[in-house]
């Protein structure tokens, strides 16, 4: 097949056809994967909820309510067992992470005690700051069963009660910051 001449018409035609075909196929793949992507996101959220909350039998994702704090949004997921509130999970954030914003899911019992914490999203250094993730290390176990009323959410260096991750004080501070933000807004009338 001979190369086509680079006339204006030919160039326009070729680019239009290529762009049309590619956007059509992209749209097709997007439609195809839309369902699975949404399902994967929901599964991730449900998994996080289950790991941070006591046993529940409602659908916290359907009862979610939100509150704008510090230029971002906190999401509250109330968990009930037989319509009795057993805890609230708060999807919280901190912009102070070493590699950018971190997002956590913090599960609180009705009295404000931390039940468990799961990391949703972070860009911390692999091997150092990423130890906040339970998949990488047991560091975040120290938060379990603590009530921020008498457990100061700050690293020991800053006069708090949290043992920082070795060589990752910044990541640890961000983690505390996120948990504290969740606790404060939950206590300030965030609980429903």
């Amino acid at each position: 097949m001979a190369k086509r001449e680079s006339t204006f018409g030919n160039m326009l035609l070729a680019l239009t056809v290529v762009t049309l075909i590619s956007s059509a196929s992209l749209g097709f793949v997007y439609e195809l994967t839309k369902g699975p992507i949404a399902a994967a996101k929901l599964a991730k959220k449900n998994e996080a909820l289950q790991s941070v909350l006591p046993e529940f039998n409602n659908h916290p994702v359907e009862e979610v309510y939100k509150k704008a704090v510090d230029g971002d949004t906190l999401y509250f997921f109330p968990a009930r067992r037989d319509s009795q509130l057993v805890g609230t999970a708060v999807e919280t954030f901190s912009p102070k992470g070493f590699g950018g914003t971190i997002r956590l899911m913090v599960g609180f019992l009705p009295d404000g005690t931390i039940n468990n914490v799961a990391v949703l999203e972070h860009k911390e250094t692999p091997g150092l700051g990423d130890k906040m993730d339970r998949k990488k290390s047991d560091w975040s176990v120290q938060f379990e069963g603590k009530n921020p009323k008498n457990f100061k959410l700050a690293v020991k260096k800053d006069g708090g009660d949290v043992q920082a991750i070795t060589a990752s004080t910044i990541s640890s501070r961000a983690f505390c910051d996120a948990v504290e933000r969740a606790y404060n807004s939950l206590m300030k009338g965030g609980q429903q």
Partner: protein, 195 residues
Amino acid sequence: MNQWNNFSKGIFKENAVFVQVLGMCPTLGVTTSAYNGLGMGLATTFVLLMSNIVVSMVKGFIPDKVRIPAYIVIIASFVTIVELIMQAFVPVLFDELGLFIPLIVVNCLVLGRSEAFASKNNVLSSAVDGLGMGLGFTLALFMLGSIRELLGSGAWLGIKFIHGDGMLLFILAPGAFIALAYLIAIMNRVNRRNA
């Protein structure tokens, strides 16, 4: 050229990372573990294979002056397809690789093969070339990831060999540069001896 040579040149003689020093950003950025290196390599291989095939199919239709933008559109489409598929079926890996998935589009290796090979050869040769180059790239990323994971966290493919931490330096940014420097130096030596 017979197809076997065509395939194997991408893995050894013209290896994208060790010999041509192309696609350095993902090579350094995502190789904190062997698994991530493998995932990134395979994603790139897919894009390379598909874009090589399509470019060699449409090469007669595209006028010379607009071939680069046309190739970029083709490559970007396949990158987006990979993005969507990974998001749907391997969301954890997608989160780990993050920014580097859309950046496959500016991996000089991909555009380089379209321009230098697929635009001049038939579909079969181009497919073989893309596959070879992609697997060579994957191999390099997997090796670098393995070295960094072994030295940095004392593990391989997530299996721990030692208690506690390894030499953290290798997981961090400086270790990426240094490990790659030695790998290239070793490959230089091996290639020179074979030549």
